[in-house]
Amino acid sequence: MKTALSQFIRGGFAALLLAFIVTTMPAGAQQPSSVNPTAQSVKEDQLLRALKPGDQLTGRISIPDPKAASLIQPGRDWRSFNQETLPKLGTYAVLGMLLLLALFYMLRGKIRIDAGPSGQKILRFNSVERFAHWTTATSFIILAITGANITFGKTLLTPIMGPEAFAAWAQYAKYIHNYVGFAFMVGVLLVFLVWVKDNMPAMADLKWFAAGGGLLSKGHHPPAKRFNGGQKIVFWSVVIGGFLLSLSGWYLVFPYNTTLADVQWQATIHGVAAFVLIALMLAHAYIGSIGMEGAFDAMGSGEVDLNWAKEHHGLWVEEEMKKGTAHMHPAE
């Protein structure tokens, strides 16, 4: 990251540098006929004024830690992000989504299988897929709780638990967060591998969106392949969000010669991605459980009711039938 200072130095001192290169030529070369280091000394004021927002005053230090070479980072942007923006974002995202879902539930109620259960089951997700899902889901929930603890814990829990107990819990939470993070990374990777081929955007998705996913009105189901447009949104959110969370999290846990500004970026990305994803996952969890009849089976037993499948993933059922790979059997 180029700091304003380094640019300042590069620009401002280029001439001087040139002068030096010329001057120190062995013979007959011209040195400046007066150098007054006291008068030429850098002033904090000037340097700060020349600094771009978010940049830092850096110099040289013999300790082999590049972060130690940063003298002053005047900006308090990260602080205000962390103390004001992020909690606000988190609150709005989580509470807002919950509110929205409650509203939706009140208006739409539980989405039923229009044709009613057929009694026939079709395998929607095999065990590998379900493993990928639940690894990701479980770890995400744990990470969400232990992570949100950093943002909201001291406001919400300290008054209840007292500072010592809260610190102990927070310490545990941090450990858990660090370890479970790996499970999440594995989960996201699996999710990506097993489902990416079914999640490539297609024209049908546009139609699906145009029809509002059929969620808003009863009895109308835009055709969808294995995953509909909404599910693809969830998939890509998980993959991209998960990737961002993993990467930023990795760097936060294993900082490698990074500058403070980098770390702040990582923490910012981690926080924003986390709350956005939490909000999305709330919706995902809603629609996959109490929001829709028959949906949970997909990730529960892996087998869904054929009618449910036809209504929500008609094209997929057709494909499966054609391939003859659909494993159907009557419900016991």
Binding site: L17, F20, I21, T23, T24, M25, P26, A27, G28, A29, Q30, Q31, P32, S33, S34, V35, N36, P37, T38, A39, S41, S62, I63, P64, D65, E164, A167, A168, Q171, Y175, F254, N257
Partner: protein, 988 residues
């Protein structure tokens, strides 16, 4: 891949790899301490949950509730002489407090001073005596060490002569230790005794003493506060003497003084200058002569001062005529206008002082450089008053004292020289027959075939000992080559030409390294046997006095007992004297007291012996009692004048530390001399004149072959209230008689003088009068014992009586070598000096084409000297973990070298090379590179860590700059040319 958890104490970054798990070791120690209950307490809930907690080693920190005693000692690192206040609890040094009362440091320290407590924690110290057996280090007892070493020494003595054992002492000794070791060499029967002053300020001592009498800092750090202009040339006190900057910057601020730094590097010191002048390394004389050119041309010289107190300036004036601004710029690279400005400030905005360090001294023209510096001071009348003077910043904590006390190849203690008079003087003080000493020395065949004793023959300097080990026997001017080397407190990486030194080490039969650390000597060669390491304690583990650069002597009080099996210098020297059979004679008048391992010499008693013999330099008034009183009453001394008010008990009227000369016996209560040659004060108040050291008259050879008699005594200048209102020679009984002042001598004094003088008591001078009567009488009449002479800028007894520019042996300016060649080959100090041949060969072979970059070296604030001690101190070592070379932006760009990358620095001799990190910076100009000289433990790209005895390897190792530095020796002192040579740098 997952990155493993890193241990808490481990360092960061690339250095990790090289540390061989010191982290783990530290953690072990810590957990041990925790278990031992010393770090009681605990992190309550969290701690018991087993989370990674921080607990630091606290065993050496004060335990609340137990009494703490404060002991006062002096920092063992540089010559500023900062007082250290040590908090001691139950025999453990647990903390350092600011020494607010010291007028020198006023509570402050630099990185080294603020971390000296670690020296006696001594994680990496040598813990017990060791010897090398077939390449393996084995632990031995002190007794075995003494027996085996002394037996071997006697064998060498029998087969090759006394001169074949070469002694190297230390600037980190106390005065008493230094004196004792010089005395030891005298009793052994050799002048092969040297120490670090050889490689730091030997040329200063020679050059300055040959100008005005004594070779020491004329003023003091504190007095710089009075200066209105200061030039710092060839020195970087911000890193080498940080606490001195307190005084320098104060002068700069309060007086708005001009602070001019003349240096090839824009140093940390230069960063605070009001004028920075970049010069080409090795052109000091042209710089000074170029300044004097302007001064003489504009009539800025101090004509009255010159007429009254200086001889020979006309000759300098003539030499300076050659140094026109054009020629000066051609040689030095300094623009004429800038040099004129600097010259004008120095000559007209007075008082002005000139501060220098090893940039001036470590050259083949070192002595001449220094004399040029003195000449500039004299020409502008800037000697002998407040705010002026040659402020020579010495190096080690007691390099001044060790120099004074004769750890020198050409002197007995206190600059008496080596002639019969000197030997007789010390034989009288030591109460040992002169003839006994004579019999101890080798007798060799002189060039004319006559037998001659080496007793009056200067020994081999520390820069050349390895040449005297490997050169053909007939080229070494003594009975045999060196067979044994006995080193006490001196690093092995401080001297150029290390590849050749390594060969010298391998050729030795015996190598003894007595030091708190193994030093480079212990690991650099391929030696397999005959090598001994003796653990010596630091000066914090014994008592004694040390002389700061400003000649103030300070008493250090033992803080703790020597740690591990280490022992102090006094005991070790006494034990060897016993084994070698001269302890009874040598310690005849020295009190023995109970020490760690039995009876040992008492430092107070050694100092009293110094007092009894130190007349020449005024080391006579500083009794242990007076010095201790000074330490007790530090708060009474003025910050600027260093003087205590007259009415203060015990120290009233004294200058702090009784800076020498402190005339007469202690009871005479001379206050010491803050500023040398200061005619504004009465001699009894520390005033003085230039020393009449060079005779009364000089027969100056004239162009027509005739000789003109020149008066060398001062004319019309004298110290305040002197009864003699003109120049006068040094005082002898004869002079007293002529003045009719001999009547003032007491009977006892006269009796002593008569005893010393024998048939010719009139010749007994102030410097050998053990009664002190001659000094006393002279002082009572307002006269200084050493006479009132002129300073001389024409040192007719030295090479180049008027300094002339001579290019370094390895110069990039081959065009200038022809015009300004080095001096012809010659022989000095028992070995040949073939500088001219080497310089000519370098030009003929086109060395400057293959090695186009000038290489200079210098100091880092965190480290000292060879650095074994400081690199073993984790608090310091953490701050400088890699050896590096500063290379200019342009040179780095030409070579595709990035900042922080590895490079090879190669030298023009012995295929030498060093693998170091590049520090690309504008600090050095194009064509100049610079390396710090504190590193060791790597040699030509190879890590030598495994060759240290286990647990004694410093935390930080690195290549030594002296692996690539080269040949070149000052003919006057044998000083090496460490500050300028050539090298090539390429990416590794």
């Amino acid at each position: 891949m997952l990155i493993k958890r890193k241990d808490g104490s481990a360092p960061r970054g690339a250095f990790l790899a090289g540390l061989n798990g010191i982290g783990a070791e530290r953690l072990d120690r810590r957990s041990f301490l925790r278990r031992s209950g010393l770090a009681a307490g605990g992190l309550a809930a969290i701690g018991s949950l087993g989370f990674g907690t921080v607990r630091e080693a606290k065993a050496k920190m004060p335990v609340p509730g137990k009494p703490v005693e404060v002991r006062t000692n002096i920092c063992t690192h540089c010559s500023v002489g900062c007082t250290v206040k040590a908090e001691v609890q139950e025999g453990v040094w647990v903390g350092q407090e600011p020494a607010w009362d010291s007028p020198i440091n006023r509570g402050t320290h630099c990185a080294k001073g603020a971390s000296v407590r670690e020296l006696v924690k001594g994680e990496r110290r040598l813990k017990y005596p060791m010897k090398l057996v077939n390449g393996e280090w084995q632990r031995i007892s002190w007794d075995v060490a003494f027996d085996e070493i002394s037996k071997k020494m006697l064998e060498i003595r029998a087969s090759s002569g006394a001169d074949s054992v070469w002694f190297l002492g230390s600037a980190k000794f106390s005065n008493e230790g230094a004196y004792l070791m010089r005395k030891f060499a005298a009793y052994w029967g050799t002048n092969n005794i040297d120490h670090q002053a050889r490689i730091c300020h030997s040329t200063t001592v020679a050059g300055v003493a040959n100008t005005w009498g004594y070779g020491a800092q004329t003023n003091s750090y504190n007095d710089i506060r009075n200066a209105k202009t200061m030039i710092i040339m060839g020195g970087n006190p911000a890193e080498a003497h940080p606490v001195s900057l307190q005084h320098v910057l104060s002068g700069k601020e309060v007086n708005r003084a001009n602070m001019i730094v003349i240096d090839p590097r824009m140093t940390r010191t230069a960063a605070h200058a009001t004028e920075y002048v970049r010069m080409r390394p090795g052109t000091d004389i042209p710089v000074i002569w170029g300044m004097l050119h302007h001064i003489f041309k504009n009539g800025w010289e101090d004509k009255k001062f010159l007429a009254e107190r200086v001889y020979g300036m006309d000759m300098v004036r003539k030499e300076c005529e050659k140094w026109t601004p054009e020629e000066t710029e051609r040689v030095t690279g300094i623009p004429g206008a800038q040099l004129e400005k600097v010259a004008k400030m120095f000559a007209t905005e007075k008082p002005s002082t000139l501060i220098w360090c090893m940039g001036a001294t470590q050259k083949t023209v070192g002595t001449a450089n220094v004399r040029a510096f003195c000449t500039l001071l004299l020409a502008t009348g800037n000697v002998g008053s407040n705010g002026t003077g040659a402020n020579i910043f010495r190096g080690h904590c007691n390099v001044q004292g060790a120099t004074d006390l004769g750890l020198d190849i050409a002197n007995l203690p206190l600059y008496y020289g080596l002639d019969a008079g000197a030997w007789n003087h010390w034989a009288r003080v030591w109460e040992t027959d002169y003839s006994w000493f004579r019999d101890r020395f080798d007798v060799i065949k002189a060039a004319d075939g006559k037998d001659v004793s080496t007793m009056e023959m200067p020994g081999i300097p520390s820069t050349r000992w390895f040449d005297a080990t490997v050169l053909p026997k007939e080229q070494v001017g003594q009975k045999d080559r060196l067979k044994g080397v006995f080193v006490m407190g001196h690093g092995g990486n401080s001297i150029p030409r290390m590849p050749e030194m390594t060969k010298g080490l391998e050729a030795l039969d015996l190598l003894v390294v007595a030091d708190p650390h193994p030093t480079t000597f212990a690991h650099i060669s391929g030696r397999k046997n005959g090598t001994y390491l003796l653990p010596i304690c630091t000066q914090f583990e014994c008592s004694g006095s040390r002389t700061a650069s400003n000649r103030s002597i300070q008493w250090g009080e033992k803080v703790v007992e020597p740690i591990f099996e280490s022992a102090n210098d006094y005991w070790v020297l006494h034990k060897f004297a016993e084994k070698l059979g001269f302890a009874d004679k040598m310690f005849k008048n020295i009190t023995m007291v109970k020490g760690k391992y039995g009876m040992e010499p008492e430092p107070e008693s050694i100092l009293r012996e110094i007092n009894r013999g130190g007349w020449s330099t005024g080391y006579t008034g500083q009794s242990p009692e007076r010095l201790k009183a000074h330490m007790k009453h530090q708060d009474k001394f003025d910050l600027v004048t260093l003087r205590a008010p007259k009415d203060v008990p015990e120290v009233g009227g004294d200058y702090y530390g009784l800076p020498w000369p402190c005339w007469g016996k202690p009871e005479y209560r001379h206050p010491g001399t803050h500023i040398l040659y200061n005619t504004n004060l009465h001699v009894k108040d520390g005033g003085g004149t230039f020393r009449a050291r060079f005779g009364v008259e000089y027969e100056e050879p004239q162009a027509d072959g005739s000789k003109k008699k020149i008066n060398l005594l001062a004319e019309g200048s004298y110290s305040k209230d002197s009864e003699l209102k003109d120049g006068y020679p040094q005082f002898t009984l004869g002079v007293l008689k002529r003045l009719g002042w001999d009547k003032d001598l007491t009977e006892a004094e006269l009796a002593t003088i008569t005893r010393i003088g024998g048939n010719n008591p009139d010749n007994v001078a102030w410097s050998i009068d053990l009664s002190g009567g001659i000094q006393r009488v002279a002082l009572e009449h307002g006269c200084i014992p050493f006479g009132n002479g002129k300073a001389r800028v024409n040192a007719w007894n030295l090479p180049d009586p008027i300094p002339v520019h001579r290019e370094p042996i390895y110069s990039p300016r081959t065009d200038l070598v022809a015009k300004y060649p080095t001096r012809p080959d010659g022989r000095q100090f028992r070995v040949p000096n073939i500088g001219f041949t080497v310089q000519k060969a370098a030009v003929d072979k086109g060395i400057a084409k293959d090695f186009p970059i000038i290489l200079s070296s210098g100091r880092l604030v965190e480290y000292e000297g060879g650095g074994e001690e400081t690199r073993s101190n984790p608090w310091l070592a953490e701050l400088q973990q890699d050896m590096f070379v500063e290379i200019s932006v342009a040179d780095a760009a030409d070579r595709g070298i990035r900042d922080g990358s590895w490079v090879w620095v190669t030298g023009p001799e012995s295929g030498s090379k060093a693998r170091v990190k590049a520090l690309v910076t504008e600090r050095v100009g194009k064509g100049v590179a610079w390396m710090p000289f504190h590193f060791g433990g790597w040699f030509m790209g190879e890590d030598q860590r495994s060759k240290y005895p286990k647990g004694t390897d410093p935390f930080v190792l690195g290549e030594s700059v002296n692996t690539v530095t080269t040949y070149g020796y000052d003919p006057v002192t044998g000083m090496h040319e460490g500050k300028v040579t050539l090298c090539q740098i390429r990416a590794a």
